[in-house]
């Protein structure tokens, strides 16, 4: 009992930063934007509100990712690239499913009329279809 006279500072020193991991903090605090006062001495009430997202991304997107921030990738406004990618992906999907159905048909055609052996010519016909409409 008497040896416990050096009170450990563990409770006193406890920092009140609570739940805060940096990305969580930034999610909340930067969400509302940052108030940037041009010059407090001259134009005290003329505050400019900048979208922090744009401002900081111009500086470094890599840095943002390093810090665990990636919302800009999901923001259609900030990630024109992602939008582009999505469109391309859609076109690829469409083409693939088209090709898939062609392959399926040629397979069932080959399976169904194995004696005729005309599977190839039917797929040739289909290929000319999109070609015509494209030109």
């Amino acid at each position: 009992m008497t040896s416990a006279d050096y009170s450990q500072p563990r409770e006193v020193e406890q920092r009140p930063s609570g739940p805060a991991s940096l990305p969580d903090v930034l999610d909340r605090i930067l969400d509302k934007g940052l108030v940037v006062a041009g010059d407090v001495t001259l134009q005290l009430l003329d505050v400019e509100i900048l979208t922090i997202k744009v401002r900081l991304l111009l500086c470094s997107a890599e840095k943002a990712e390093e810090m665990g921030i990636d919302w800009w990738k999901h923001d259609p406004f900030l990630s024109g690239q992602a939008e582009q990618d999505k469109k391309l992906q859609k076109r690829v999907d469409k083409l693939e499913s088209l090709l898939g159905s062609v392959a399926n048909e040629s397979q069932t055609a080959a399976g169904g009329h194995s004696s005729s052996g005309e599977g190839e010519s039917s797929s040739n016909e289909r290929e000319s279809g999109p070609g015509r409409s494209g030109g």
Binding site: R28, L34, A37, D39, L44, L45, M67, N104
Partner: protein, 268 residues
């Protein structure tokens, strides 16, 4: 008045405003960007400290590190206030010309501030994030979905070209099924936790999260929320996990209150 003219340019200082607390609330003696003090008006207390304007010049804020460091200090002060009552957080970088301006702001925006402050009193913000184990879900849907199994069977013993197409088809279907399951989890979590909350805010999307929300929850219900999250996590059987963070100052539920501009005719 002109005491600071020795250097030509006066050292610009401002009053940094972290947030507003009720008049009766205790304010810890803690430093934020400087020692804390309060400016009072009626039933409102503004928590401020003096900052140098040059520290907050726009050029100083164009680096992530600089902004993150400031955000964390802002957070620490508000988190400290939260130990005594729920503060109404101001946005990062809210700086007024001096305490007189802070006082003027309290007067001018009194009704809005008092309303917003009482709306968050006795409540806290809690973060919920949901991460989904997509690989785990993939093997689950592969085991359980009849359509996927049928495709798998068709793939066995088909020639390579066709097989490739079937594989693509299976992958697409599997992704759809995983997305569907994920959406179901999100709905489940929002539904189950939503009724413990008074408001919900959807935060920025994140790669690793299927859901990143904040809830405004009565302080008295915080324990119930924690228990609900534990129970839900058990029921998700490792296929998804909810992470609860908080309590936070109610950042996501504080309205943006304009600092001024309306009353410009304050000539002495």
């Amino acid at each position: 008045m002109s005491a600071s003219q020795a250097q030509g340019a006066p050292a610009a200082e401002g009053s940094y405003l972290y947030g507003i607390v009720p008049q009766a609330a205790a304010v810890p003696r803690r430093a934020g960007f400087g020692p804390l003090r309060t400016v009072c008006e009626g039933d409102l207390q503004a928590v401020v400290s003096t900052v140098s304007a040059t520290d907050w010049a726009p050029e100083k804020l164009s680096e992530w590190d600089a902004v993150a460091e400031r955000a964390q200090r802002h957070q620490e002060v508000l988190q400290g206030l939260l130990e005594h009552c729920t503060p109404l957080p101001m946005r990062l970088g809210t700086i007024l010309h001096g305490d007189d301006q802070v006082h003027e702001f309290l007067c001018r925006a009194h009704a809005k501030l008092a309303g917003a402050l009482s709306a968050v009193q006795g409540r806290q913000e809690w973060g919920i994030k949901l991460t989904v184990d997509r690989a785990g879900l993939a093997s689950q849907v592969q085991r359980q979905d009849p359509e996927l199994q049928a495709l798998e069977q068709r793939m066995a013993g088909t020639p390579e070209g066709t097989r490739y197409m079937l594989e693509k088809k299976r992958d697409r279907l599997r992704t759809q099924r995983i997305d569907g399951e994920q959406a179901r989890f999100v709905e489940l979590v929002r539904g189950e936790l939503g009724h413990l909350a008074e408001q919900r805010a959807v935060l920025s999307a994140r790669d690793e999260c299927a859901l990143n929300d904040s809830l405004l929850v009565e302080t008295a219900r915080a324990d119930a929320l924690g228990e609900r999250v534990t129970a839900l996590n058990d029921s998700l059987r490792g296929l998804a996990a909810i992470e609860l963070t908080g309590p936070w100052p109610p950042y996501s539920f504080a309205p943006v209150i304009q600092l001024g501009q309306e009353t410009q005719q304050v000539d002495g």
